[in-house]
Symmetry: C2
Subunit: 201 residues, 2 copies
């Protein structure tokens, strides 16, 4: 399999953690990608019209995207339980994934607004709305996170918190979320979460 890859994309990281958990990461060749919403990467667009990472090319040459689809595909390939078969746990896990993805979407939109868009075109109301989303999502995670099982919801949460550390250090999310802080400390020691992936030299 081949994966269009970016080392800082939290959605790519979701895929790589799943792959590692499932013993599949050695079977994925990482391909360089320069995904940007205003300067699209034509090599990706050929396979995925949205021009986004992650995009997976299966052994059969089929293009799969986005991260939710790829993670579920890998889970199937590795006969995993990252997408639980128990139904009530499944809805919990994939709603948690949706919440983490939503937090990340808000963080990415904020990043585009403040780092990609020309300064004079920045709209504060937009940024404030997105940041509010991040805070509401963190509050919900703080009240619901637990260590009972490791599934796609928790993987997405780990990638969300790591992304906040990377790009939104100034939010200091640990200060007002002690349970999340403790949870993240534990989960960060897990090999799949601790590991850093890079493109082959």
């Amino acid at each position: 399999m081949k994966l269009f890859f970016s080392p800082t994309s939290p959605y790519v990281r979701k895929v790589m953690i799943c792959a590692h958990e499932l013993g599949l990461s050695e079977h994925i060749e990482l391909l360089p990608a320069k995904a940007s919403p205003v300067d699209r990467d034509k090599t990706i667009v050929e396979k995925n019209p949205l021009g986004k990472v992650p995009t997976l090319l299966t052994k059969e040459g089929v293009a799969l995207y986005d991260s939710r689809v790829i993670c579920e595909y890998l889970n199937e390939l590795g006969s995993g339980q990252l997408f639980p078969t128990d139904k009530s746990l499944r809805w919990e896990a994939i709603t948690m994934q949706a919440l983490g993805d939503g937090l990340l979407d808000a963080a990415l939109l904020t990043r585009y607004e403040t780092f990609l868009r020309p300064k004079e075109l920045c709209w504060n109301d937009w940024v404030n709305g997105q940041i509010e989303k991040i805070h509401s999502a963190l509050k919900q995670f703080e009240s619901s996170v637990h260590n009972d099982s490791f599934h796609i919801g928790q993987i997405t949460l780990a990638c969300s918190l790591a992304y906040l550390d990377l790009r939104f250090d100034h939010l200091e999310w640990r200060k007002s979320h002690p349970k999340l802080k403790g949870w993240f400390e534990v989960i960060s020691k897990r090999t799949s979460v601790a590991k850093e992936w890079t493109l082959p030299a």
Copy 2:
């Protein structure tokens, strides 16, 4: 069940089409919602920190989101095949859903940029990047759409094209996509797709 609803949201429409196909639409009470990224609806936020429609409240009172999660939940509840159990068809269907959702995300971001944001803060490169995404997605759909089965991928495509008709009439997508035009004509006659949902008076 209860659903935070907006009559023009294409993601809500995905859910309602699924519900109708599965014989469940009569069991869903529609709740009014005013989701906006800059002026968040606090009633939704209480249940879904992202403050977005669709958000479903199950009979047990659990909040499920986003549209992908709700559609899969309804499919399970109605023992449907909108999310195919045949694996290779499943990856095709949910990647097609991701492509349609991606087209819609690009359309919504364009709409926010041109109708919500103050005119003087509009960034043309951003709009162009999003519109390019819509065109690439349409091109891919044009070359791959077929009538073999009706699943979540096709439902998402139908909602995407209907949304382009509602808000992006000027793109005149039918002109350069004859196969999609023909496919949409047929699919639009399906009761679940033709139906218009509104809030109870």
